[in-house]
Amino acid sequence: MRIYWADLHIHTCLSPCAELDMTPKGIIKRAAAKGLDMIAVTDHNSAGNLSAALGCAAGGTVAVIPGMEITSAEEVHILALFETIDAAAEMQRQLYDGGDFPPDAGHKAFGTEQVIVNVADEILGFEPRLLAGASSKGLEDIIGAVHALGGLAIASHSDRESFSVLSQLGFFPEDAMFDAIEVTGKKPDTLLPARFPRLHSSDAHSPDMIGRKKTGFMMEAPTFRELAMAIKGEGGRGIRG
């Protein structure tokens, strides 16, 4: 076992707020240059660029965990990490089939295109759904759906002034089933329940942000299953910085 350094919150050019040069290929290259062993690709409410990201990472030194940053009905951001692209795609299907993020809702409203690319950074298309919107599903329902698919549910930037548990809900619900919480250090740690493991991630929207914050995990290999064990503190795995 050794420490693997991970940045588990990175947006690609598919996210409406991310820069266009956040292509999967560019992200993997930058992550490798920053010495990261593992990243999670987490676009807003879409799994659209995951296959390109995993394709780019194949055979390289940076492992990619398929993920998604889901916006709940309360406008709380939840990082959902999965073992497979299929599980992430199923999560997306549940959101879209439930009527969330309707197509053609005005994807240019936020100024940037939502670009879907392939492993060679070639444009495959533009996502017409308004990914900056919110799901009709509440926080607990989304966490339940992520867990049902074998995924990890992490409270994104949980202590931030916007789109966080603290900003939207005032405090952590007693029965919140998060597996971990991402902290930015913007508020005193005492506002956050002690029971949740703390993670540090960059929430990168531009290449220079990748790896700016990271978490060290003691584990056997940079895989989803090992990550899940480390977050839960099982089998000698754990969070080490």
Binding site: E74, E75, G138, L139, L166, S167, Q168, L169, G170, F171, P173
Partner: protein, 115 residues
Amino acid sequence: MKIAEIADKLGLEVVNEGQWEREAKCCYASDMLSDVLANGGEGCLWITRQSHPNIVAVAAIRGMAGIIITGGKQISPDTIEKAGQEQVMIFSTPKQTCELAGMLYMLLSNEVERG
């Protein structure tokens, strides 16, 4: 103005019973619970589209007179159960926040002018 009178005048639907005779002195409209925790006034009726169970605790902590959930949103049984425990009145209305807030503001300010 008493909550019972306000509910009647605005045609609010009762979601959780409570202190009908309590006076509502003011109103506050916000969907960010951190904002309401910081700024929600005691004795105010709080207008929001949030229906997460945490709204009950926030209203109770701030001593608010009750919660009005706008937009005809479905309210979860968890929220209603917590409201019962905390004795926080919850109302629902199909009206949107702006319209309801305007009507409530007029009701309360007319009362202040009348003395």
